[in-house]
Symmetry: C2
Subunit: 290 residues, 2 copies
């Protein structure tokens, strides 16, 4: 199975396809062909040909002013059987229970090599600000979702993640994920601060972060555990700092997370989050739980 | 911009990619490579090469037993900027209001050339059976969502849709969308029955369907209207036939749908549903609203 010339050209096609799809995001749901050409690093005439083919196939759709954006067909293909589907389906009724009581934001997220990926979010009208969007990214080291996902991952996953993202530790938060700009002064914890936070989160079984991303909001998150006790996902809420429910949030979320684990069953199709780093073998880590 | 040989081979690549992604669905979230090869009509050795490349790119992911399924990266790329994103974002707080009161199922759907596509669904634990799934398809002629989308589309869209799907009218419902099997005896309306139902839906401003798909459930749906008065989407609920809220459902949904229209704004990025049939010019249709 060596790479033939045809194989090479197919790889290039896929690479380009991924760069084209990756050029769009929540801030740029549509792009002109020339902007797309620039962001995907594809020559303009080639970009025009690609747009022609991809719109013909329904993977892109034309918008106003000659712009294009990802197509509904792409969303349908990706969504009806995505790996998060069984988790979202299992989680939704429990998230609805939580949301019915709190009427703020209830969200579920997973960890991959790039950080926290939000799979689903329920939000009430008039709720406090919340930066999470579905299929959006959140900071890993400064959010309750991220802390809980790291704390309850297999140890070698957390270690690999910290190694990969070592340059971010102790540094100001990169703002690419952030549209508003209220997170300007957020600084990631240093490695030793992070390690002691994670130990604390492991011990108490949940993470709570006050006013870190938005000064009026508190985030609380708990792990959805696999039968082996690792985090499959994190279930979290964002409520006003002054919420009367604050003391009850962790117990409420822990109960809901147990329901989600049970609904997923022993053969839940969501891969344990260490599947994200298959190349890293488990390594001996000193236990910081003392 | 004629099709060169290279252009042709790229088209084939795309066609195959679409057939591969299209081979998975809610019933078959993962497939062995040989099953994938059969369903996508791609020779087995080629399928193996494709799976290798697509898993390398994160568009597919490996599951247990040598099976593969769509990858989280595909979902992320497709979801963070899909055409339905602005609609779902605008709709979610209003759907949450409805769901907080009813605690059953609240869903939003759009119409495309294949029928009703569910964009989002909120469900309570213990709610009545409901066949809708996110990114799933629903029957068009027998559901409140489908009737409302047809009734409030531009006239030529509804006419085109009925022409395209003429063979389904008056015939038993095809069951491909249905996993449970409780819809065995459902028969689509004939063309004249459908026309009179649509006229009725237009006049009353909403659609209500009792126990058609599941005998214990009632579906009620209303249109989310564009500034021009066409359906951008349908907002619907599924509740028990005996629900005490039944008489208030339509007014409640109509108020929520107005909120969603307002939240989308005049420049809402969701295309009006007639963008689905761009090739069909508006035609003169006798007015059945009398």
């Amino acid at each position: 199975m060596t790479d033939s010339a045809a194989g090479k050209s197919t790889d290039t096609t896929l690479d380009r396809l991924i760069r084209i799809l990756g050029a769009f995001d929540a801030d740029r749901p549509t792009l002109t062909v020339s902007a797309l050409s620039r962001r995907a690093a594809i020559p303009l005439p080639t970009a025009y040909r690609w747009v022609e083919r991809l719109t013909g196939a329904g993977l892109l759709e034309r918008a106003e002013g000659g712009a294009v954006g990802p197509g509904m067909r792409l969303w349908e293909l990706a969504s009806r059987s995505a790996p998060g589907t069984s988790l979202r389906k299992a989680a939704m009724p429990y998230m609805d229970d939580v949301q019915a009581v709190l009427r703020q934001h209830t969200q579920i997220a997973v960890l991959d090599a790039s950080g926290v990926l939000v799979l689903e979010r329920l939000s009430a009208r008039g709720a406090v600000p919340n930066q999470a969007t579905i299929a959006g990214r959140m900071p890993t080291f400064t959010t309750s979702l991220g802390l809980v996902l790291l704390a309850f991952s297999r140890r070698h996953v957390a270690e690999s993640f910290m190694t990969e993202h070592a340059s971010a530790l102790g540094a100001p938060l990169r703002e690419i994920w952030h549209q508003g700009g209220t997170a300007r002064n957020v600084v990631n914890p240093t490695e030793s601060e992070l390690r002691s936070r994670l130990a604390e989160v492991r011990q108490q079984g949940y993470a709570a972060v006050d006013g870190q991303i938005d000064s009026e909001a508190t985030g609380v998150a708990v792990p959805v555990l696999s039968p082996e006790g690792q985090a499959i996902a994190a279930l979290g809420v964002v409520v006003p700092v002054s919420s009367e429910f604050r003391p009850g949030l962790a117990p409420m979320l822990l109960a809901a997370a147990r329901g989600i684990s049970r609904a997923l069953g022993p053969g839940g199709t969501m891969p344990p989050s260490d599947a994200v780093f298959p190349e890293h073998a488990p390594v001996e880590i000193p236990d910081d739980r003392t």
